[in-house]
Symmetry: C2
Subunit: 435 residues, 2 copies
């Protein structure tokens, strides 16, 4: 394309919510910088919306609004999809790619469910499909994993990729709030939505985990491959108990290589976990996001920043717009998202990790021996046992941390412990990560 | 170039020290992954060394060693320069670019001194010049700043870009060592060289600051534009005093926009500074590096990882090799390092920051009033004053933190304080950053 570098590229924005408005603002107000950085003029040719009658921010030029989403998506050089959800976004993106447009999207649900078909469509059309804003907002982890680590082998990704839950856990940790109060506070501050389900149940994080796993391990991981546990059952006692041994509780999106029956596999999951306070992820505060990557040669890397918000997300979108525009000016396209080294998904039961179990037990002699025998019978070995916090009148409590054990061995252990008379209640089971 | 995608790209490595050996190892052992990721075979055609007689790691194929550096540099598609120093590296890189090769370099000294002429040579030849490994080792900050933030406006960069000094300061902080002991320990562990001057005097950090500033602010900043202060005068008392107010001392490379006489300018500098413990940079421990970036839309981002070491540096080099190879296969080149928005350098005296001054003073009435009057006379305002640590028999000590003040106002204040009879000694002056 060098011989015919375009003087102007036609840019379409689909969706004009908070992020869309910010993208429009920056396309218009930073036009000369964007021209200098891309070598071409980026002309905003239309803003696709469901209804042109909805009131908009004054920065949005009314004359560019259109309800003809399909027409707009198939008549631009660069299409920015910010509508969210599966349809009509999926059809519009597919149509835009087929029409030869480069597509930028912030739509994690779409990518987590239909990523592979979209990557293939982009490859077939020899155009870019970029999505930095879909994972961890402004944090440039997609580019970091795809390009900077392209000559390395990633072995594990641990991410705090949901700001709402990180804010809630942080307030529970530093402010001593319980989950309900911390959630209410997050909602007041706009960090959590009125219906917080997708965040607190870990579903948002799971979509990002699927995208990150696909990218880091050149695999085809979809949302269905990601077992999820949210943070609604995390109690102030869990937080306090973690603090006693120098840990904080974080909701982690994890993708890692493992072996199962001697065969390499990829395990992806989302759950709350104890993280040692000295781990870089432990100091990620409030609504921030961070992705910690372990690679064979690079060692450990971390990408940190704002995981949400109109402006931050717009920054990531515009970085992708500049990259796509440069490709259209200078020739070239981003590498394929090929699954050339695809690892098979590992069954969840085969995942090995350390566990912390809190148990309420009878305060009688021989309790520990009895419990230890059950744990040992399942081949799980105990790293530490300590006394948990409990009113002495009510009985005793134990906190057991295991060495690395498989999910299935742990589940069997828990089932057996639950039948012991000396065990009144299994208060919580949490994984320990980052060690 | 799409129509004639090469089946093989000829790769030359110049220099075969620790990093060169790791790069050779990974080029050879990961050949099939690299082929899958680039779409072409990367053929290692030669390893340029000063003497083929020097013993090498067994991984290095002896038959590829050559002393004909110039011939090798001008006969490959991708040239990886890992020799360090200015000459012959500069001539070899220039020759390679002129011959149409894409160049990857980890040579910070070369870029800090001759970056602009090399970027222009790469642009003229329409080839890539990549240097991720030259700043903060494996930490992908060059790509992050150049590409991910290409649609944003960076306002400030704060970096811990020298692992040796970070290790020393960290040991002084957590282990209570003095500078000499911490340096000796760093040398024992291989984190500091026998001659540590370039690290502890801040010169290594200054070269990286110049490169980062050029990149983040589209400017032409060279090493000569960077005032430098190292860490050799940092005392255990400085560390302890910083801790009392919730700060740690870090050696920072700083590039920021400011105004001087109403005109925008770019201030670049390297010096130790107090950083609040809750700042993400404060928890960067040991020999790690991190670069904290503030941008208009993205807000704050941080890139963290291993700043040195053969393997980590090789990872960054290979990420660049893959990017350059993809460009040669798919067409395209990286964007120019144009200085289109170049800010003029700001005079060092115009830089505004907060200061912490520690003074030994006479223990007599009216001392504070006298000192406060001198400070106020220079238009500097005091944020806090507290009693410093000193043996009461010897007199009193004061720790004064100022509001933001210009370097010149501070210098004049200090000069005047030094003439006061009540001031026995100005023990230390440190800047406070990250707020």
């Amino acid at each position: 394309m060098n011989d015919g570098a375009p003087a102007t590229l036609r840019v379409a924005v689909l969706g004009c919510g908070v992020v869309g408005t910010e993208v429009v603002r920056r396309l218009l107000t930073n036009a000369s910088e964007l021209h200098a950085r891309t070598g071409t003029r980026l002309e905003l040719v239309g803003i696709g919306v469901r209804s042109t009658a909805t009131p908009r921010d004054p920065v949005v030029p009314t004359e560019l609004l259109t309800e003809d989403l399909r027409g707009l998506a198939t008549s631009a050089d660069i299409v920015i999809e910010l509508m969210g959800g599966i349809e009509p976004a999926r059809g519009l993106v597919t149509g835009a790619l087929a029409a030869g447009a480069s597509v930028i999207t912030a739509n994690k649900a779409l990518l987590a469910q239909h990523g592979p078909e979209l990557y293939e469509a982009a490859d077939a059309a020899r155009v870019d499909l970029f999505y930095e804003a879909a994972v961890a907002g402004a944090v440039p982890v997609v580019r970091g994993v795809r390009e900077s680590l392209a000559g390395d082998k990633i072995t594990r990704v641990l991410g705090i990729v949901n700001g709402t839950t990180n804010y809630i856990l942080d307030e529970m940790t530093s402010g001593g709030l319980d989950f309900e109060k911390a959630l209410a506070q997050a909602q007041e501050l706009g960090y959590a939505e009125a219906d917080p389900t997708a965040d607190v149940e870990g579903l948002d994080a799971a979509a990002k985990a699927a995208i990150l796993a696909s990218l880091a391990f050149h695999s085809r991981t979809s949302l269905d491959d990601v077992p999820v546990q949210g943070i609604t059952s995390i109690s102030p006692e869990d937080i306090a108990s973690a603090a006693q041994t120098g840990h904080v509780i974080k909701l982690l999106a994890i993708a890692e290589q493992g072996t199962y029956d001697g065969v390499g596999g990829l395990a992806v999951r989302v759950h709350p976990a104890l993280v040692p306070v000295e781990h870089p992820l432990a100091s990620v505060r409030g609504p921030f996001n961070a992705v910690f990557v372990e690679a064979e040669a690079a060692g450990t890397l971390m990408f940190y920043g704002a995981g949400a918000g109109g402006e931050a997300t717009a920054s990531a979108v515009l970085g992708d717009v500049v990259a796509a525009a440069r490709h259209r000016v200078n020739g070239g396209k981003a590498p394929s998202e090929s699954a050339h080294a695809a690892l098979p998904p590992m069954p969840a039961q085969a995942v090995h990790t350390r566990y912390q179990m809190r148990l309420d037990v009878l305060d009688v002699p021989g309790v520990l021996a009895e419990i230890a025998a059950v744990v040992a019978a399942h081949g799980v070995s105990i790293e530490t046992v300590r006394q948990g916090m409990r009113d002495p009148d009510e009985g005793a409590a134990l906190v057991i941390v295991t060495h690395s054990a498989s999910e299935s061995a742990l589940a069997a252990t828990v089932a057996d412990l639950d039948t012991l008379e000396v065990v009144e209640r299994i208060t919580s089971i949490l994984r320990v990560e980052g060690t």
